[in-house]
C-alpha cells in the first residue's frame, strides 16, 4: 500500500492500443467448416478450452496441411472479456504459417508481448494476464488433436504460475540463488504470482495444486537441512571453525575435547565436570561449567584446574574460549 494504490487502478486505462483495436475489430475472428478444409486440402482442427461458467472460453479453428504440418489458416471464437477476445485474436494470428510443433511454443507471454504498443509497457494490467492463459492452453489442445496424442504429453506439467509461465524449477532456482525468505520476494524477482495472484497462496481466484508459499517452505526446509548437513560434514572432517558451528555442534566439539583430555584427569582424583551452557560474548565464547564429585570442593577448581581446562579448550577448539565455573 502506498500512493499508487490509494486510487484504484482502472483496468481499461491499462489496455494497450493494440488490445483495444483487436477488441473492437478482431482480425482472426470466425470459423472454418469441413468444406473450407476440403477446399484447401487441409485437415480441420477445432478445439475448445475453458467454459462459460469460468468466465472465459475459446474455440480455436485450424486448417493444417497434412503433408507439411503447417497451419495454413487459423481463426477463433470466444466467450470472454476484452482481454480474452484480444489475446485469442492475437494467438490465432500468430499460429498462421507455423508448423504445429512450433505453434505449441506460443505462450501467453508471447501473445501479451505481441499486443504491446512499446516493448516496455505491458499490454494488459497484471490481473488480466489470467485471461490470456487460455490462448496457450487451447493451442495445446488443438495440437494434441492434430497429432492424435493426449495433451498431457505436450504440456509442461511443471508450470506453477500460468500467467507468467514460470515452472517449479524457476521458482526453486530463484529461492536458492537469491536466498529468498519471503514469498513477496519470489513475486518480485521471478514475476510469478504477480498477475492474477492465484498461485501465491490458497484462497485466490483459482485453486492450485501447489502454491508459491508451499514451494518456499519446502525449499527453505531443504536449504536449512543442507546447511546443517554441510556444517556437520565439515565438523567431522575437522574443517569447520568454532564460529561457524551450530550450538549443538559447539557443545559436541567442546564435549569431545573434555572427554578426551580433561575428564580422565579429573576422574583420577574422584571428580568430574559438566557443561552448563555456551554463550557468545563477542569476541569471546563463555563456557559455563559445573564441577562434580570431589572437584566441587577442590581449591584448585578456580585456579590450576580451571587454567588447565581453559588452555586445553583454547588450544584444541578456539582461542577465544573462556571457561567460567558456576
Amino acid at each position: 500500500m502506498a500512493r499508487n494504490d490509494l486510487v484504484t487502478g482502472n483496468v481499461w486505462e491499462q489496455y494497450s492500443k493494440k488490445v483495444q483495436e483487436r477488441m473492437n475489430s478482431p482480425k482472426a475472428m470466425g470459423e472454418f467448416s469441413e468444406e473450407d478444409a476440403k477446399a484447401r486440402d487441409a485437415k480441420l482442427i477445432v478445439a475448445d478450452f475453458g467454459a462459460e461458467s469460468c468466465g472465459d472460453a475459446v474455440r480455436l479453428f485450424w486448417l493444417v496441411d497434412p503433408k507439411t504440418d503447417i497451419i495454413l489458416d487459423s481463426k477463433f471464437k470466444s466467450f470472454g472479456c476484452g482481454t480474452a477476445i484480444a489475446s485469442s485474436d492475437a494467438m490465432a494470428e500468430l499460429c498462421i504459417g507455423r508448423k504445429v510443433d512450433d505453434a505449441i511454443h506460443i505462450t501467453n507471454t508471447e501473445v501479451e508481448a505481441f499486443l504491446r504498443d512499446t516493448p516496455d509497457e505491458p499490454a494488459v494490467p497484471p490481473q488480466k494476464m489470467h485471461c490470456s492463459v487460455m490462448a496457450y492452453d487451447v493451442i495445446l489442445e488443438a495440437a494434441a488433436q492434430y497429432k492424435g496424442v493426449d495433451r498431457s504429453e505436450l504440456e509442461n506439467q511443471d508450470i506453477v504460475c500460468e500467467c507468467a509461465r514460470k515452472t517449479r524449477k524457476d521458482i526453486v532456482d530463484a529461492i536458492r540463488e537469491h536466498n529468498i525468505t519471503e514469498v513477496e520476494q519470489i513475486v518480485e524477482i521471478t514475476k510469478a504470482g504477480s498477475y492474477c495472484k492465484s498461485c501465491v497462496r490458497e484462497g485466490g481466484h483459482e485453486a492450485k495444486d501447489v502454491y508459491l508459499v508451499d514451494i518456499l517452505a519446502e525449499v527453505r526446509e531443504q536449504m536449512e537441512g543442507e546447511k546443517l548437513t554441510a556444517a556437520a560434514d565439515t565438523t567431522q572432517s575437522g574443517e569447520n571453525s568454532f564460529d561457524k558451528m551450530t550450538i549443538v555442534q559447539r557443545i559436541k566439539a567442546v564435549d569431545a575435547i573434555i572427554e578426551e583430555y580433561i575428564r580422565p584427569m579429573l576422574v583420577m582424583d574422584g571428580g568430574d565436570m559438566e557443561i552448563i551452557d555456551i554463550k557468545e560474548n563477542t569476541p569471546y565464547y563463555d563456557i559455563y561449567i559445573r564441577y562434580l564429585g570431589a572437584c566441587s570442593s577442590c581449591a584448585t577448581g578456580s585456579t590450576g584446574t580451571l587454567y588447565a581446562i581453559e588452555s586445553t579448550l583454547k588450544q584444541k577448539v578456539d582461542e577465544n574460549i573462556r571457561v567460567l565455573p558456576v
Binding site: T8, G9, V11, W12, M23, N24, P26, M29, E31, F32, S33, I45, V46, A47, D48, F49, G50, A51, E52, S53, C54, G55, D56, A57, V58, R59, F61, F76, K77, S78, F79, G80, C81, G82, T83, A84, I85, Q127, K128, H130, C131, D137, V138, E141, A144, Q145, R151, C196, H205, E206, A207
Partner: protein
C-alpha cells in the same frame, strides 16, 4: 450521446441540491461555538434535521447521526455489537445475508476475526432473503440481524417489515442497510420497524462524503468515532459537514417528492427498456418486477461476457455495471447474482441498467438501439453461437 445508467452505484447531483450545497458553503461556522457564526450554522443544521426527521419518519427520541457514508454507518452498527461482545456480553452471534454490500461483509469478517459468530442467510431465485432460514438461524446468542433493504445488483426488495417482526419476536436488534432505498421507495423508519438504518446522500442525487445513521431511541449504541461531546452529543465526533448535511436533507426532500415521477415516468422507461431488450433472443431478466426496484433491470445476454458488453457500451457513451468476475479487481464474480439460482455464467453475462429521474425517453431509445447492435456484434465473436462444434474439449475449473 452519453447515457449514465449506473445509478445504483452513484448518481449525479441534482441541480436543486447543488444550489443548496453551493449556497450554504459560506455558512462555515462550527455549530458548537457561541458567537453568531455558530448560531447561523445551527439554524442551517436544525432546518436540515427537520427535513431528515420529517422525510424519513423518525421520532424525536431517535437519533439521526450524520456520517460520511453508509459504510461508516454500517461499521458503527456492527461494531456496537462487537464492542458489547468484547466487553463481556454472551451475545456473540450476528445474522446477515449473502446479498450484502462489502460495507457489511468486511466489518462482519472483522467481527468474526475478533471472535464473533456470523451466519449468512441465502436468497432464493427471486433474490429474496429466505426468511424461514433467517428465523431458524436465530439462537439465544444472537444479538443482531442486519439485512439490506434492496440489492444494488439484482434490485430485489426485501420484506423488511416481516424481518423486523421476526427480530422483535426473538428479542434481537435489527439493522437495515438502506443505501438503495431513499428515492426508490417511500421510507418510513418507524413503520419499517428497524432499530438501525444507514444511507448515503450520493445514492439519491446528493453529494458524496455525507450520509446518516438512524439509531432508534433506547437501543445499544457505541461511538465509532470519538471526539468532542458537543457535536451530536459525542455520538459521532468530527466537525460537521454543514453544507453537505443541508444538501443531503434537500436531496431527501426531493427524493420523496419525486416518488410519483418514479412510479410513472422512470418505471415506465425501465419497463420499455426491459420489454425491448427481452425481444432479443436468449436474454433473461432477473427478479420479478413486483419484487424489484423500479429503476432497475438486470439482464443476461447468452454468450456475451459482461465486461465485453460494458466495453462496447462505453464506446457508445453508455455506462453500465456488471456482475462479471472479469470487471472486478479481484476477478471474483458477483455472489449476489450467482445466488439467483443459475450458474456462474449468468453472473458473468449479467449487466445492470439502473435509471434515474434524469433518464430520458430519447436516451432509452438510443440504449435499445446500441444494445441490439452490440449483442449482434459480440455474438458474432462468441463461441456460444459458433456453427462448428469442437472435436475436443478441455474443461478446466478456473
Amino acid at each position: 450521446m452519453e447515457v449514465y445508467l449506473d445509478n445504483n452505484s452513484t448518481t449525479q447531483v441534482d441541480p436543486k441540491v447543488q444550489e443548496v450545497y453551493v449556497d450554504t458553503i459560506a455558512k462555515f461556522g462550527n455549530i458548537n461555538v457561541i458567537y453568531n457564526k455558530g448560531i447561523e450554522a445551527r439554524a442551517l443544521l436544525n432546518d436540515a434535521y427537520d427535513k431528515l426527521y420529517d422525510g424519513l419518519g423518525a421520532a424525536d427520541e431517535d437519533d439521526i447521526l450524520i456520517t460520511s457514508s453508509t459504510t461508516e454507518g454500517n461499521n458503527a452498527v456492527l461494531k456496537t455489537f462487537l464492542t458489547e461482545f468484547l466487553k463481556g456480553s454472551e451475545k456473540n452471534h450476528i445474522i446477515s445475508t449473502i446479498a450484502e454490500h462489502s460495507s457489511i461483509k468486511s466489518p462482519l469478517k472483522f467481527c468474526k476475526d475478533m471472535g464473533m459468530d456470523v451466519t449468512y442467510v441465502g436468497t432464493d431465485e427471486n433474490g429474496l432473503i429466505k426468511i424461514d432460514e433467517l428465523e431458524a438461524a436465530i439462537t439465544d446468542k444472537t444479538c443482531l440481524i442486519s439485512c439490506l433493504i434492496a440489492s444494488n445488483e439484482t434490485g430485489a426488495i426485501q420484506d423488511i417489515k416481516a424481518i423486523s417482526q421476526i427480530a422483535k419476536k426473538h428479542g434481537v436488534y435489527f439493522h437495515s442497510d438502506g443505501a438503495q432505498a431513499i428515492g426508490k421507495m417511500r421510507v418510513d423508519l418507524q413503520d419499517l420497524g428497524v432499530d438501525y438504518f444507514t444511507f448515503s446522500a450520493h445514492k439519491f442525487h446528493g453529494p458524496k462524503g455525507v450520509g446518516a445513521l438512524y439509531v432508534k431511541g433506547g437501543v445499544p449504541y457505541h461511538t465509532l468515532i470519538h471526539g468532542a461531546k458537543n457535536v451530536m452529543g459525542g455520538k459521532r465526533g468530527g466537525s460537521l459537514y454543514n453544507n453537505g448535511v443541508a444538501a443531503m436533507a434537500r436531496a431527501v426532500e426531493l427524493a420523496n417528492i419525486n416518488l410519483s415521477f418514479l412510479d410513472h415516468t422512470t418505471q415506465g422507461l425501465r419497463n420499455k427498456l426491459e420489454d425491448e431488450l427481452l425481444k432479443i433472443p436468449d436474454t433473461k431478466s432477473y427478479v420479478p418486477r413486483e419484487y424489484r426496484l423500479k429503476n432497475l433491470v438486470a439482464i443476461s445476454f447468452k454468450g456475451i461476457e459482461g465486461e465485453a458488453m460494458l466495453w462496447d457500451m462505453n464506446e457508445s457513451g453508455i455506462y453500465l455495471s456488471t456482475g462479471s468476475s472479469c470487471s472486478s479487481e479481484d476477478l471474483e464474480g458477483s455472489a449476489v447474482v450467482e445466488a439467483l439460482g443459475e450458474k456462474t455464467e449468468i453472473a458473468n453475462a449479467t449487466v445492470m441498467f439502473a435509471l434515474s429521474k434524469f433518464t430520458t425517453n430519447e436516451q432509452i431509445d438510443y440504449v435499445i438501439e446500441k444494445v441490439k447492435a452490440t449483442v449482434e456484434r459480440l455474438r458474432e465473436i462468441s463461441m456460444t453461437y459458433a456453427k462448428q462444434e469442437a472435436f475436443s474439449v478441455h474443461l478446466e475449473e478456473h
